[in-house]
């Protein structure tokens, strides 16, 4: 495995938690994002994700570097799956270890918010009676999409 990767096969969480665990870690937080059946009253049959893979992996690594800068001492692994996924499948995993729990919680939430902002991954919801690419980024920002 790579610590920041796009994968096409089911995500095994242990690989990523094992990667971040070390003797100095007093806390590990693991977030897994799953395929949800019902969204605003509409039933999802399955999701289809695609990514601009090389750039997406670079952006995941960038998020990891941002986390290490904001919360010194954290160790991070992030994986996002692409392709067709069905109800309850894991689409994304974020594993964070830190010496103390607060940083592990905070850094983990930061990661998912940044993924939704800057990582070139797209989700298509497929329903019984249609399908749609999801996404809602703002108009072209003058200083670029990277600005926080």
């Amino acid at each position: 495995m790579k610590p920041f990767e796009i994968v096409e096969t089911p995500i095994k969480t242990e690989k990523y938690t094992d990667y971040v665990l070390h003797a100095g870690a007093g806390a590990v937080t693991v977030f897994t994002g799953h395929v949800r059946e019902w969204t605003h009253g509409v039933r999802t049959l399955y999701l289809a994700y695609e990514a601009y893979v090389p750039m997406a992996e670079k952006k995941l690594a960038q998020i990891g570097a941002e986390m290490e800068e904001k919360w010194p001492g954290v160790k991070v692994a992030i994986a996002h799956r692409i392709g067709e996924m069905h109800i309850s499948d894991i689409a994304v995993i974020i594993a964070v270890s830190s010496p103390h729990r607060k940083a592990a919680y905070e850094a983990n939430e930061y990661a998912i918010e940044r993924i939704k902002e800057i990582v070139p991954i797209w989700k298509k919801e497929v329903w019984e009676d249609g399908e749609e690419w999801i996404g809602g980024q703002k108009k072209y920002p003058e200083k670029g999409i990277e600005q926080k």
Partner: protein, 77 residues
């Protein structure tokens, strides 16, 4: 010659994953205008441009040999 890639809604709209444009240099704005002219409806949602796998600003200049990607609204997670 500038290489461009399409993803998600834009890949379905254009019917292709990538193509090359016979230009020596153009700005990101000009590239987006070219796309809208070539594929009406291209910019109905905000589209960003990545140049060599980094997000570019509208005034940035794309040179022949650069690899560009149109980035429609992202929805990972």
């Amino acid at each position: 010659m500038i290489k461009v890639s399409y993803f998600a809604r834009l890949r379905e709209l254009t019917g292709k994953s990538d193509e090359t444009i016979e230009q020596q240099a153009m700005t990101v704005s000009e590239l987006l205008e070219w796309a809208e002219t070539t594929y009406p409806g291209f910019g109905k949602e905000p589209v960003h441009v990545a140049v060599n796998e980094e997000y570019a600003l509208k005034e940035d200049v794309i040179q022949s040999g650069d690899v560009c990607a149109f980035i429609p609204p992202v929805s990972g997670g």
